[in-house]
Subunit: 470 residues, 2 copies
Amino acid sequence: MQLLKTSILIILVSLSLQIKAQTDEAIFKDIYKTALTNGNSYEWLDHLSNQIGGRLSGSYNAEKAVAYTKEELDKLGLTKVWLQPVMVPKWVRGAKEYAYIESTEGTTTAVNICALGGSIATPGIGVKAHVVEVKTFEELEALGKEKVEGKIVFYNRPMQADLISTFDAYGGCVNQRYKGAVEAAKYGAVGVIVRSMNLRLDDLPHTGSMTYDDLPNDKRIPSAAISTKDAELLSSMTKLDQGVKFYFRQHCKQLKDVQSYNVIGEIRGSEFPNQYIIVGGHLDSWDLGDGAHDDGAGVVQSMEVLRLLKVLNIQPKRTIRVVLFMNEENGLRGGKKYAEEAKQKNENHIFALESDAGGFTPRGFSFDCNAANFNQVLGWQHLFKPYLIHFFEQGGSGADVGPLKKDTNVLAGLRPDSQRYFDYHHASSDTFDAVNKRELELGAATMTALVYLYDRYGVNPISNPPKIKN
Amino acid sequence: MQLLKTSILIILVSLSLQIKAQTDEAIFKDIYKTALTNGNSYEWLDHLSNQIGGRLSGSYNAEKAVAYTKEELDKLGLTKVWLQPVMVPKWVRGAKEYAYIESTEGTTTAVNICALGGSIATPGIGVKAHVVEVKTFEELEALGKEKVEGKIVFYNRPMQADLISTFDAYGGCVNQRYKGAVEAAKYGAVGVIVRSMNLRLDDLPHTGSMTYDDLPNDKRIPSAAISTKDAELLSSMTKLDQGVKFYFRQHCKQLKDVQSYNVIGEIRGSEFPNQYIIVGGHLDSWDLGDGAHDDGAGVVQSMEVLRLLKVLNIQPKRTIRVVLFMNEENGLRGGKKYAEEAKQKNENHIFALESDAGGFTPRGFSFDCNAANFNQVLGWQHLFKPYLIHFFEQGGSGADVGPLKKDTNVLAGLRPDSQRYFDYHHASSDTFDAVNKRELELGAATMTALVYLYDRYGVNPISNPPKIKN
């Protein structure tokens, strides 16, 4: 009799587990099917990219994007939608930059450059000087003031092509762009030209943020990015002709901070409304392209997560927010502001997911969390496998959600295929036509699926095991 | 003492295993690094696509491609390179097709079509008839002769967007294209228009092969593909206006078979020269684009496998061949011919790998093999993980290698990301610029890595276990 009872119990428990498993699988199927056949992310991205365009912090376009995304969120029937004020830096590019290489004989070759975000302008007549090429700050230091003073420093360390993650290759180069001017100014350089962060050889300069740290105004020097093909040209010309000079002119300017907004929408949780799950991307972008991949894709995918939950009638137990951050590119003011207010209001953010790596085929997620929480994630991997989502690793998450980090919560970043990302990143090629509809939609579905799991099971695998009734 | 001896033995065995593991890992690293930093596949593809172009079987371009790839293989220092003669069908498109929809009032709207490969021409003045739209052959049968006779049958079943593998979606639709004319002819239709096999809505017609089976010449009807946008237009117009007619004109023709070639190169194996491993793609392509993804990519990746082995000084134990097959698209004559000769010569083909699914980021492989052999593959998965190769499944391989199937050997197909493939497949958009250099190179490296493993360990996991010396 006891044996029979035990057997029945085992059968019931097995059935219950099976039903639970089927339910998650069925919901995943609904999520992916709806995203691929009845999605809205691509239409939103079309508007953001083609009707609005590049959305540099403080620009008219950035404000249009705030108004547009709020209006679209308003249509979704969320619990509430609001704007969170945040002051942002306003840097403007001004008239198009101009540059050429001048040989000893005085012949000139025009090259493609763009000012780096945050750089000062050149004098109105431009800067012309001899060029010193380096690959590292160590090389620059070894050259010293004697060889650098009065010259333009040309940083030409390429992205490492043999790294499989192009983000790793970016990480290995980006200090040239971000810190190049500060370092070169130490030795009396008059300007900085940086090889674009691009694995391809092409004609496009790629902008991006740079810093002067606490350098006084009169020590600041203008810095610009040069296309990879022109970087190769400049490098070979300086090797053939010691007398080569570089000329560039740019008109950019840092204005006073201006008022802007994070755009936030939420579905209030039915059981644990004080546990917050957020999903987001950043509304601002650089100005050269449309910001379709960086980060229009993350914006519309995050909006799509909440839309899919509504369309599929999934009433979350926890409060789920979409946060469209302002000013990731040159200040991170939106991300900081959001975390500040969350702290003030003592909001318990258990999980935050950012999409800011392009609208390409999703491969998985990177998780910033402790080992126990990562183990919980590993238990979910099999649910994602039918959708070809295989990448689950501990690592970074996203810049905007970073300030929410606590010991006990989980931050994550969507990890799309990275091979083509730096063909577009911060360049004029980052436009709507470079985004594939299905790839974008698969990303949105994958984010929704993970948000669904965190809503259903919570974050802590010890305090919230899947409950088995017997 | 015995315990000490055993311990030492265990340590030695562990070390030996470790060294072996490190060696495979180190070779993988070399393969990927060389492919990404010193590859040749992209340059070859540039030539095939831009200097030669579309390579329809029997065309001048196809012969140019034979000569070019043989010449390039000759430069690699392989054991030998040769041409394998094969007779191929020669179908020509002729002058550009023309089509329009005509409303009851007589207004016309031009639409984008292309003849399907193998189709007959329309009469010189074209075909104009009322349209009957169906989604399946069952629908067609239900309509019967009464409703179909004298009309143009319009097959409009779209690819299923919620399938994650776009090849599954293709498989679910392609019978409309391949068999549509035969089926429609049964009921007296005068022509066939098929919705292009494309998940996007755009203006491009996608060609592809069709058959008349054994239909006598006088019963054959012309068939063409229509772009997805125009398919939507035609469908909505026929619903609004019962009197709509469709007009099309095409000038294609099936000529007599002509002589062509498979291009083959091999590195003779040092230990087991009578065990053959082959890697291949198909040289022929459709004529509308450059055939860059289908299958220029597979051709240059396969050539790159042998080039990488040479560059890395990997002397294979088994004989490794690259086979560039002719006529995959409309006849498979090259694949059949190769298998026939292999059988005649009693060549033992233990492993054959084809790349014919586009030059996109590789995700893994599909294996046509028995369970024991698939288990061997699963033991290698961890080696591929650092390169984000996660997909290892039993299934199909490639059309050209298919005829080599035996119970004991392994056939495999490279499986790149499939989301964008049908944006280009058999359409004028299948051009060089749609291929990303890194993605192409990663595919070549991934193929090389698998070929390396099969060469090192052989195919049968039972008769060829990794040997441990003690």
